[in-house]
C-alpha cells in the first residue's frame, strides 16, 4: 500500500494527489512534476470555462460526427437468442463511426484544445493500435501543431494502415525497438521525449493511464460516451441500462462509458481484458485479472510484473490491448467491486469480430471484439430483457491484415 494521505471522500474523482483510493498518483521524475501540476491547473480552468466546452462541442459534432449512434444490434441479438439462449436487448454505442474510427479522437480533441490554450507548440503521443496515433496526428493537422508519434516496431508491422495514415497526416513517426517493441515501450519513449522538451511540448496520452492528471483528464473527455448513452437510452424508452460492457486496454473507452453511471447501482459493468494466447506469463495482457499493484508510467495500478517488480512481456492479438498496465481508476473500481473485470482470449475475440461482421455488417476493431466476445460467449447469463450496451470502441479496418493471419 502506497498511500499516506487520508481517504478520498468522493470515490468518483481523484483526490488532490490524483489518487483513486490508493491508486493513481504521479510517479515521474522531478523534471516532469511542474509540467503535470501546470497541466492539472490548466485543465481545472478549462473544465470550468464554458468557451472551452463550446469549442469542444462544435468540433465534436461537425468534425468527429458526434453524437455517435446507439444502435440496436437486432441481428446479433436474434442470432444469440436462437443459438445461445440469450434473452437480453443488445445495443452498440457506435464509437467506430467517429472521425478516424475510434473513441480515441474524443480525448485528442479535448487535449489539443487544451494544448492550444496552454500555448504549447509541439505535440507528442504514444500509440499501440495506431488509433490514438492517427487521432493525434489528425487533431495536430487540424490545429497546425507538429507532432511526433512513438510506436513500437512490432505494432508498426501489424498496424501498417494506421502508420500510412499518420504519415499522410504529416506526423513524425518514431519507431521504438526497445523491449517488446509494443505500446509500453512507446510510452517509455514518449516520456523520455517529454522530459527533454519541457518548454514547448504537450504530451497527449491516449488512455486513462499515466500520471495524474491524465487519468482524470482523459476520463473527463471520454465521459461524453456515457453521457450520450444515458440520453439515447432514455430516448429509446429505457430508464437505465442493466449492463455496460467495454474492452479494457488502458481503459479509456471503458471508463468513458462507465463513468456517468458509476453512482447508479442498478447498472452493472464489465470491463473485458485480453487473455491473449493463454493465461500464462507473457501470453496475455490481463493486468486487472492476473496482475498485482505496482508503479509504471507514472501511476500506481495493477500491472503484469514478475516477483522482482520487473514488467512482464505481454501479448494480445489486439495491439491496443497489448499493454501490461491499466488505468488507476479501474484498479480502484476493481478493488471496490464496482466493476467486474473479465478476460477473453485471442481466439474468442477473433471469432466475435467475425460473427459480428457476418451478422451485423459491422467490422469492429480487434480491441472492441473482446467486449463483443464477452457478451457472445456469456450470452446465456443475461437476464430476460436486460438492456446491454457494448461500447463499439472502434472499427476494424486496421486489423484486416491480422485477420488474414488468423484464418
Amino acid at each position: 500500500m502506497l498511500k499516506a494521505t487520508p481517504p478520498n471522500p468522493n470515490p468518483h474523482t481523484p483526490d488532490s494527489q490524483g489518487r483513486f483510493g490508493s491508486f493513481g498518483g504521479r510517479f515521474v521524475s522531478e523534471t516532469l512534476m511542474p509540467l503535470l501540476i501546470d497541466l492539472e491547473h490548466a485543465w481545472q480552468q478549462a473544465k470550468d470555462d464554458p468557451s472551452f466546452w463550446q469549442a469542444f462541442d462544435a468540433y465534436a459534432r461537425d468534425y468527429i460526427g458526434r453524437p455517435s449512434p446507439l444502435y440496436h444490434a437486432a441481428a446479433l441479438e436474434s442470432h444469440l437468442r436462437t443459438h445461445k439462449a440469450f434473452k437480453g436487448i443488445l445495443y452498440f454505442k457506435r464509437e467506430d463511426l467517429n472521425h478516424t474510427g475510434a473513441h480515441k479522437i474524443n480525448n485528442c480533441l479535448g487535449q489539443v484544445l487544451l494544448a492550444k490554450r496552454m500555448g504549447k507548440t509541439r505535440i507528442i503521443a504514444e500509440t499501440g493500435a495506431g488509433q490514438h496515433g492517427v487521432a493525434t496526428a489528425t487533431v495536430c493537422a487540424r490545429f497546425s501543431l507538429p507532432c511526433t508519434i512513438y510506436m513500437g516496431a512490432t505494432d508498426i508491422q501489424r498496424q501498417a494502415p494506421n502508420v500510412q495514415r499518420m504519415a499522410c497526416l504529416n506526423a513524425n513517426i518514431h519507431a521504438v525497438d526497445a523491449g517488446t517493441a509494443t505500446l509500453k515501450d512507446a510510452l517509455n519513449e514518449a516520456l523520455r521525449d517529454w522530459v527533454q522538451h519541457v518548454d514547448d511540448t504537450f504530451y497527449i496520452i491516449g488512455s486513462v493511464a499515466g500520471p495524474h492528471p491524465y487519468p482524470m483528464l482523459v476520463r473527463d473527455l471520454q465521459a461524453i460516451i456515457g453521457k450520450e448513452t444515458a440520453q439515447q437510452l432514455q430516448d429509446k424508452g429505457h430508464a437505465h441500462p442493466h449492463y455496460l460492457i467495454a474492452c479494457v486496454g488502458g481503459g479509456s473507452n471503458a471508463i468513458g462509458l462507465f463513468h456517468p453511471f458509476l453512482a447508479d447501482t442498478r447498472v452493472r459493468m464489465v470491463g473485458v481484458e485480453a487473455a491473449g494466447r493463454n493465461t500464462t506469463d507473457g501470453n496475455h495482457a490481463a493486468a486487472l485479472t492476473l496482475g498485482a499493484p505496482g508503479v509504471l508510467h507514472g501511476s500506481y495500478s495493477y500491472l503484469l510484473q514478475n516477483e522482482d517488480g520487473q514488467i512482464q512481456p505481454v501479448h494480445s492479438v489486439a495491439a491496443g490491448l497489448d499493454y501490461p498496465g491499466v488505468g488507476p481508476e479501474h484498479a480502484f473500481l476493481k478493488d471496490t467491486a464496482r466493476v467486474d473485470y473479465q478476460c477473453v482470449n485471442d481466439q474468442q475475440a477473433l471469432a466475435a469480430l467475425r460473427l459480428t461482421a457476418q451478422k451485423e455488417g459491422i467490422i469492429s476493431a480487434l480491441e472492441t471484439a473482446h467486449a463483443l466476445a464477452y457478451v457472445i460467449d456469456n450470452a446465456e447469463t443475461f437476464e430476460k430483457d436486460a438492456v446491454i450496451v457494448i461500447n463499439l470502441s472502434g472499427r476494424g479496418d486496421k486489423d484486416m491484415q491480422t485477420l488474414a493471419e488468423y484464418p
Binding site: 498511500k3 494527489q17 521524475s29 511542474p34 505496482g294 522482482d308 517488480g309 520487473q310
Partner: protein
C-alpha cells in the same frame, strides 16, 4: 554520523568535490559488477551510486537502458544487490553507497523490507528516480526508521517554492539533475549551469551533487567548482559497453577514466 554526512564534512574541510560514479548492479555480469564495485573506492570514488535495474527505465537514455537490459538478462534481483553490498562492505566500511532505482522493484520487494535490508547490507541512501516529493512519504518514513537517507532530486524545472518544500525533508545531499532530459544525452550549458548552481546553493544547506551529462574531465572540473559532488553515469557505463567483447579490459578502462575525472576534480579545487 552516517557515512554520507561524514564524507561531505570531510571533503568540505578539504575543499574538494566528491567523485560519485554510477554503475548498474549486475552489469555487465554479476561477477564483474561486484569487482567494479569493490574497486571503485581505490579508483578514486568518494561515494558510489549503485543502480538497481528496471525493465522500463523511463528517465534513462540508451546507454544506461542497455546496462539495465544486461543486468536483467542476468536475472539480477534486489536480493542479489543486497548480497553484493554485503560483500563490498566486507572490504570497505567507509565509502558511502547509495542505491538508485525506480519505484516498482522496491514496491514488489516491500518498502519496509527494502529499507530494512538495505540498511543491514550496508547501504547509506536511496535515490528514487520516479518518486517525486508528492509521492515519497511512505519511502521517507521507512528510510527514517532504518537510518537511511532518501536523496531528493532537484532539476532545472524545479521552482523556488518546490525547492523549499523539497529541501525540508532532504537528507544526505541534493542530487541536482543538470538538464531537463534523460541520462547520457545532452550536456548542460556551462554558463547556465553555473548560474543555476549558485542560485541553488543560496537556498540549500545540504551538499549538492550534480549529475546528467557529465562526460569529460573538463565537464567534471567545471561542476566541481560549483558543487559538492560530481556524478558520472553514462560516461562510465559507456566504457563498460565499449569493452563488452573483451571483458578483461573493463576494470582497467574504468580505472583509467576514474583517474581522469578524479584528477580534474582535484584540479578544480586547487
Amino acid at each position: 554520523m552516517n557515512r554520507i554526512d561524514g564524507l561531505f564534512q570531510a571533503l568540505a574541510t578539504r575543499k574538494r568535490a566528491a567523485l560519485i560514479p554510477f554503475i548498474s548492479a549486475g552489469d555487465p555480469t554479476p561477477a564483474l559488477s561486484q569487482e567494479l564495485l569493490n574497486q571503485l573506492p581505490s579508483m578514486g570514488a568518494d561515494l558510489i551510486e549503485l543502480g538497481m535495474p528496471f525493465s522500463d527505465p523511463t528517465a534513462d537514455g540508451p546507454i544506461i537502458q542497455k546496462a539495465h537490459v544486461r543486468a536483467l538478462r542476468n536475472n539480477l534481483s534486489i536480493k542479489t544487490i543486497f548480497t553484493m553490498i554485503q560483500t563490498f562492505r566486507s572490504y570497505n566500511s567507509h565509502t558511502p553507497l547509495v542505491l538508485m532505482g525506480y519505484a516498482n522493484p522496491i514496491l514488489a520487494f516491500g518498502i519496509d523490507a527494502f529499507f530494512q535490508q538495505a540498511h543491514k547490507s550496508g547501504a547509506d541512501g536511496v535515490i528514487l528516480v520516479d518518486v517525486p516529493i508528492e509521492e515519497d512519504a511512505t519511502f521517507m518514513s521507512a528510510a527514517e526508521r532504518n537510518a537511511l537517507c532518501v536523496i531528493r532530486l532537484a532539476t532545472p524545472t524545479t521552482s523556488p517554492e518546490r525547492l523549499r518544500a523539497l529541501l525540508e525533508k532532504a537528507r544526505g545531499f541534493v542530487y541536482y539533475v543538470s538538464i531537463a532530459g534523460i541520462t547520457g544525452t545532452k550536456s548542460a550549458d556551462k554558463k547556465d549551469l553555473t548560474m543555476r548552481l549558485r542560485n541553488l546553493k543560496k537556498h540549500c544547506p545540504l551538499p549538492v551533487a550534480v549529475g546528467f551529462g557529465i562526460k569529460t574531465g573538463a565537464d567534471a572540473r567545471l561542476v566541481a567548482e560549483h558543487a559538492q559532488g560530481v556524478v558520472i553515469g553514462s560516461a562510465l557505463i559507456q566504457a563498460i559497453e565499449d569493452n563488452l567483447s573483451q571483458p578483461q579490459r573493463i576494470v582497467p578502462e574504468v580505472a583509467q577514466k576514474m583517474t581522469e575525472w578524479r584528477k580534474a576534480i582535484e584540479e578544480a579545487q586547487s
